[in-house]
């Protein structure tokens, strides 16, 4: 893999939320690399640390309480964690932008949607107001909203349309990397289909790399090239879509698949993962999944679990990979 092609590299990232009397270990030594033009799905349940990882790339974690306690985040070879706030402002919205989950609250209700798109353009590109407005209108058209609606306010749009506006804002300066945090979770399925379709289309047209955060493996299957499964702030399995969907190797990944009712099959009873996700301020020793794992053995309860490559590009954090016939 040539280093030129590498867009993002996260090395050994650890993030904690420090409260008065407890430390919440939200992200625990995450390693991730991503190439240009790729779409990576970050999958996991509520509280797994997916959003924290994404926000740390943008450096928009509130400090306090969030503290990056270790690691580096290289964006095109530069460690964003070492940049000054001024340099960072030039990156946000220009090189990296982010779409948030809830389109209902992400827009400013007192500005027209057009103004909100033009604002980003004006901040990052040396253009006058008029030109920025024209670019904003082009963006609206690109996400399938008539340019004539430039002067409308957010409340005049439906949820799906608002999410399109937010995508238009995020893509206005043609960023290298788009962080999409559950972009369709608040939308209905038919609208979700429209938005996913659009993201796929824009990816092709603009060549944007995307990190898609979701809990829905169906969306991953449709949009992503690679997947990383996050559990308790760790990546427990990562690989190409084929690796994860055809050869899920971590018991947690397997459990996730078993928890989804199969739309084609005749499963009468689901086979869910037992128990609950661990409390991130009191994580278990050893493998963080071991209290819920049905394959647990003595070696899982203590010590460090190695993150190993079991086939090219397919990484798993599980002791069982040593053993025959899991």
């Amino acid at each position: 893999m040539s280093s030129e092609n590498k867009l993002l590299e996260i090395r050994d990232l650890a993030i904690q939320y420090v409260a008065e009397n407890e430390v919440v270990r939200a992200v625990n030594h995450v390693n991730l690399t991503m190439n240009k033009g790729e779409t990576l799905g970050l999958v996991g349940e509520t509280g797994a640390g997916k959003t924290t990882i994404a926000k740390s790339i943008m450096r928009i974690l509130p400090d306090p309480p969030a503290k990056v306690s270790a690691g580096e985040i290289y964006l095109e070879g530069k460690d964003v964690l070492k940049l000054s706030e001024k340099e960072m402002r030039r990156i946000r919205g220009k090189k990296v932008s982010m779409i948030f989950q809830d389109p209902m609250t992400a827009l400013n209700p007192i500005y027209t949607v057009g103004e909100q798109i033009a604002e980003v353009v004006q901040l990052h590109e040396k253009v006058n107001k008029k030109k920025a407005a024209r670019q904003a209108m082009e963006m609206l058209e690109m996400v399938g909203i008539p340019a004539a609606r430039y002067h409308d306010y957010p409340h005049q749009f439906s949820g799906g349309m608002k999410q399109r506006v937010i995508i238009a804002i995020a893509l206005a300066c043609n960023p290298e990397l788009l962080l999409a945090d559950e972009p369709t979770t608040a939308l209905d399925v038919t609208i979700q289909a429209q938005v996913l379709d659009m993201i796929n289309q824009l990816k092709k047209e603009l060549g944007t790399s995307v990190i898609l955060i979701t809990h829905d493996l169906g969306i991953v299957a449709e949009v992503c090239d690679r997947v990383a499964v996050v559990y308790a702030g760790e990546i427990v399995e990562a690989g190409w879509c084929e690796d994860i969907f055809d050869h899920a190797s971590h018991p947690y990944t397997e459990g996730l698949f078993n928890s989804i009712p199969d739309i084609d099959g005749d499963v009468e009873r689901l086979n869910p993962i037992q128990g609950l996700p661990p409390n991130p301020s009191d994580l278990p020793q050893g493998c963080k999944f071991h209290p819920r794992c049905s394959y647990v053995s003595e070696c899982c309860r203590t010590g460090h679990v190695p993150y190993q490559e079991i086939s090219p590009g397919h990484f798993v954090r599980c002791h069982l990979q040593h053993k025959e016939g899991k």
């Binding site: 509520t46 449709e222 969907f245 928890s259 009712p261 009873r269 609950l276």
Partner: protein
């Protein structure tokens, strides 16, 4: 055979400043004892209003609701209260449907106390048994909702609904707010309870894979009306209505081998305010023709499979 619940031409209209909103408009169905009727549709299609109107939590505008042969739209308040013991609801959001100042046991006891026929010791005993039934550990007796995760909170909601041993429960998106692994646990619990107690469910959801998993029959709702009703597996195998087809094709399937042709619908759902008499889906439907301007009735196409579409023969050729 008449079912435990029969709904005939049920209507619920709301007056709004823009006009009359036809939230539920002429819905009819029957459920047999021990079965699950799934109701699917997108937000704003009237599925929750339907669930609440069926329980008479909202007064219906028109139509009849027969519960165990009795029309509950005309019974007096006192009798309704008795009937309520048999008809319960589980709400979507276990974060806002529980009183934050009530402990787990107090919340579960509430319906037992209100019933007025149990002694204190009976209530304590029943509460313990209910907690056990829904899988809440006894140590949580004095815990408060904020201390619990979504799955456990939803178990409290289920325990409350079960307290007076009802026969029929409306489940309004009971697992939508939960993570998949917890969702699967709750779905299994609900299926077990149904088998043990011969419960009848109306299961309202927007999640199509969940509804297929849990339902015997499924109704597809669009802007206040049923557009298709069919046994669950039949609906997924042979969807007939253009809306159902689009809806099913839009589900992201966790399988990378299965690339399907998606039907992308244009536009969005609007509210049925002063709707025209024709098919409400016509505006977004690629098959729309003149016949669609006429009212569409739900007709039986094959055994048990009902459809409201004037053009189904041409479409499903």
């Amino acid at each position: 055979m008449a079912g435990i619940l029969e709904v005939q031409n049920l209507k619920k209209y709301f007056k709004t400043s823009a006009g009359v909103l036809h939230a539920v408009d002429g819905v009819s169905f029957t459920i047999e004892k021990g079965k699950t009727l799934g109701v699917v549709g997108e937000s704003g299609c009237g599925k929750s209003t339907l669930g609440r109107t069926v329980l008479h939590l909202l007064d219906s505008t028109d139509g009849k609701i027969f519960f165990q042969g009795e029309d509950i739209t005309v019974v007096d308040k006192k009798k309704l209260r008795g009937l309520r013991e048999n008809m319960q609801i589980i709400f979507q959001d276990p974060f806002s449907s529980l009183n934050p100042r009530m402990s787990v046991s107090t919340a579960i006891q509430e319906p037992l106390i209100l019933a007025g026929r149990f002694s204190k010791t009976e209530i304590a005993e029943l509460t313990g048994r209910l907690m056990d039934t829904v899988g809440l550990a006894e140590r949580l007796w004095n815990s408060y909702p904020h201390e619990l995760d979504g799955g456990r909170r939803q178990r409290i909601g289920i325990a409350r609904a079960l307290a007076l041993n009802p026969q029929f429960i409306v489940c309004d998106e009971p697992v939508s707010a939960l993570d998949v692994s917890i969702q699967a646990q709750i779905l299994n619990l609900m299926q077990d309870l149904q088998a043990q107690r011969q419960l009848t469910y109306i299961f309202i959801t927007h999640d199509l894979s969940v509804v297929r998993h849990i339902s015997d029959d499924i109704c597809v709702m669009y802007m206040g009306q049923l557009v298709e009703k069919s046994p669950a597996k039949e609906l997924f195998r042979h969807p007939l209505h253009p809306y159902t087809k689009a809806l099913l094709s839009a589900i992201p399937v966790p399988n990378i081998r299965r690339k399907r042709q998606r039907i992308i619908l244009k536009g969005e759902v609007t509210s049925p305010v002063n709707p025209s008499p024709g098919c409400r889906f016509a505006k977004r439907c690629s098959y729309a023709a003149e016949v669609c301007a006429k009212p569409q009735e739900l007709k039986e196409i094959t055994s048990g499979h009902y459809l409201a579409c004037g053009r189904y023969e041409e479409i499903n050729d």
